[in-house]
């Protein structure tokens, strides 16, 4: 147990180290002056420049500079944005939760829809139902998510006028920022019309969530289907059947757990796909998340923002994936460490 945990911790630290070095190096690789790219302060007066040079130790060698950089990163001083002049730490902590919220709902949706559908298809495999579900899933994950989002907007927002198409909530609701998760923030806030605000927030969530969830749902369906087919042909299922258990009993007693355990890590690994899609979809729905923020940053050549954003997002993703690996390993120690599932 502890050995595993240590190993994963080790791996995580190593990867984060690489990422932090890359992010530091980006200040040098990006066009322009490294000091400006680190601090985000353009056209500094000679006085500020001296102060910054000392802060980032640019007089010293790269190792010392990196050391100073890391100290600043850990103290939450990530520099300021070129375009807004605001501290990057504040901007990122504002944007990242918005993305996570969207991803969380999309992930949930993909599980709630994907696993039962996969089970149905798998239990009736090589029947019409199975083929329908399977072809639907191939269709679903061949649709470019950003195109789907546009089509959904055309139908549900512009033609039918049912749902809003941009942002997280009608801006007339002045929800104070607390956790960054809009639904939680509304519940915590003391604004009037709380239920109206919640309703509005949900209406804003529907389309982006569906657009992001579709691909993951398709993958989840296939994983669940494959897995339950494998499990149901195992000896212990046949044994159970010969003991006279009904299909339902077999499914609930043996099937579900044994089916889900091996695919959990695979489903969890899809979170990266989810985040990538979320970042693209955000720009279409003007969702104020990290993807939208980063893409705006690249349009405006906001190098400090890209440097800090890259570090924040990639660290987050790495920590998330390694933690998921660790947790699933702890849940299911029998898993071969090189085993990879197929869909």
């Amino acid at each position: 147990m502890i050995r595993y945990a240590l190993r994963y911790l080790n791996l995580m630290v190593l990867t984060l180290l690489v990422l932090s070095v890359v992010s530091f190096a980006l200040a040098y690789w990006f066009p322009g002056d490294p000091l400006t790219n680190l601090s985000g302060i353009q056209e500094a007066t000679p006085q500020t420049e001296r102060f910054l040079a000392e802060k980032y130790a640019t007089e010293h060698n790269l190792f010392v500079q990196y050391w100073h950089y890391m100290q600043l990163v850990f103290s939450g001083d990530w520099g300021v944005s070129f375009s807004s002049g605001l501290p990057l730490y504040d901007e990122i902590t504002l944007a990242l939760p918005a993305t996570l919220e969207l991803c969380a709902y999309a992930f949930l949706l993909s599980l709630i829809v994907g696993i039962p559908l996969g089970f149905i298809a798998g239990l009736k495999h090589y029947t019409g139902t199975d083929y329908t579900v399977l072809s639907l899933s191939v269709f679903s994950y061949s649709i470019p998510a950003f195109w789907l989002a546009l089509i959904l907007i055309l139908i549900f927002c512009l033609q039918l006028g049912w749902l809003p198409l941009s942002g997280r909530i009608n801006l007339l609701f002045d929800v104070p920022h607390q956790t960054g998760f809009i639904v939680i923030d509304i519940l915590l806030s003391d604004i009037q019309n709380k239920s109206a605000a919640l309703n509005d927030a949900f209406r804003h969530l529907v389309l982006p969530t569906i657009s992001i969830a579709l691909i993951n749902t398709a993958i989840t369906v296939r994983l669940a289907r494959r897995s339950i087919i494998d499990v149901m042909s195992k000896g212990y299922i046949i044994a159970a059947r010969s003991r006279g258990l009904t299909n339902n009993q077999i499914l609930w007693k043996h099937g579900v757990r044994n089916t889900l355990l091996p695919i959990l890590p695979l489903i969890a690994a899809q979170i990266t796909t989810l985040i990538t899609n979320a970042m693209v979809i955000e720009t279409i729905f003007s969702w104020p998340g990290i993807g939208n923020w980063l893409i705006q940053a690249i349009y405006q050549r906001d190098y400090p923002a890209i440097r800090a954003g890259m570090l924040a997002v990639s660290s987050f993703v790495v920590i998330l994936t390694v933690s998921i690996e660790l947790i699933t390993r702890l849940l299911d120690p029998t898993r071969d460490k090189n085993e990879r599932g197929t869909i």
Partner: protein, 297 residues
């Protein structure tokens, strides 16, 4: 005709033939293959068929609807865009750009990934383990993020976005190759070759690689669908190919401007991307289940 066979000669299909036979039985997979061939042909000979120059603007026919609309004309089968460029020609060239480049990227990524994976799979010890794990974690970083960083360093452009996508595609090849090589190294035929004194590179190219081709083809099809989606997404976001280059993602983002008055500008490139990815996925799926069936039979 009347040839008489005294002995019941048994025909042994090669693994490839075997897979192909199973593959052929699936109508869906065959549809995918036909579509794929169609797109490949379009990419290769399309430019000779395209009725217009894809970047030539014609201010006399702006936003002409496709031919099946009442106000459409047969001169522009798929209509025209906001500056009067013929959509059909643009889509044909778009297939060439998007599809052609995706294939190129997959080949590059495959070569690099397989070489790295082979090295990783045949070496042992701490170094290999660190390399593997690092690769695993870095693989988790979204393509979009890599693309953003590269574009920030080198500027926007098709070539720069190609770098990003290739980088993002490589890890899965490394992974697949490494795991495969590792498993094969334990098998008897490899052991036999090693006892014969085969060197590492001989071993890889002569013994392992031929067995891996199928796996690679399956992997390549999935890499291809990823590449197609990534290249169009980056084009759509304005981080990849730049207008007026007829890249399907770029066309989509231009279509967005006139989405309401000219929905075909949005629909046609989108359907094109969708069909391409679908074709690739269907073929990939068909191949994989064919291989699986052969293995289990």
């Amino acid at each position: 005709m009347a040839r008489f066979n005294l002995y019941d000669e048994e025909f042994f299909p090669s693994p490839w033939q075997h897979t192909w036979r199973t593959f052929k039985q699936s109508h869906i997979a065959m549809t995918g293959l036909i579509l794929l061939i169609f797109f490949s042909l379009t990419a290769v000979i399309g430019p000779f068929l395209a009725p217009y120059d894809p970047v030539e603007q014609n201010t006399n026919s702006l936003l002409v609807p496709p031919a099946w609309f009442d106000s459409g004309t047969i001169a522009h089968l798929f209509g025209t865009d906001a500056v009067g460029r013929d959509m059909l020609s643009r889509v044909i060239y778009g297939c060439q750009v998007t599809f052609g480049i995706s294939i190129l990227l997959v080949i590059i990524a495959m070569i690099v990934g397989v070489s790295l994976g082979a090295v990783a799979g045949m070496t042992k010890g701490v170094r290999s383990s660190i390399l593997n794990h690092l690769l695993d974690s870095l693989m988790a970083i979204p393509t979009l993020l890599i693309a953003i960083v590269i574009v920030a360093m080198l500027g926007t452009g098709l070539v720069n976005s190609m770098w990003a996508i290739t980088l993002a595609l490589i890890p899965q090849f490394v992974h697949g190759t490494r795991d495969f090589v590792r498993d094969e190294m334990k098998k008897e035929y490899v052991l036999a070759a090693r006892l014969d004194g085969a060197g590492k590179s001989f071993l890889f190219f002569q013994s392992i690689l031929p067995n891996m081709i199928e796996l690679l083809v399956v992997q390549a099809t999935f890499a291809l669908s990823t590449a197609l989606l990534d290249i169009t997404a980056l084009g759509f976001l304005g981080l990849g190919a730049q207008p007026p280059l007829p890249e399907l993602g770029v066309m989509l983002s231009a279509g967005l401007e006139v989405a309401y008055i000219a929905p075909w500008n949005l629909a046609i490139p989108g359907i094109c991307i969708f069909l391409m990815v679908l074709a690739v996925n269907l073929v990939g799926d068909g191949l994989r289940s064919a291989v699986r069936k052969r293995m289990s039979s």
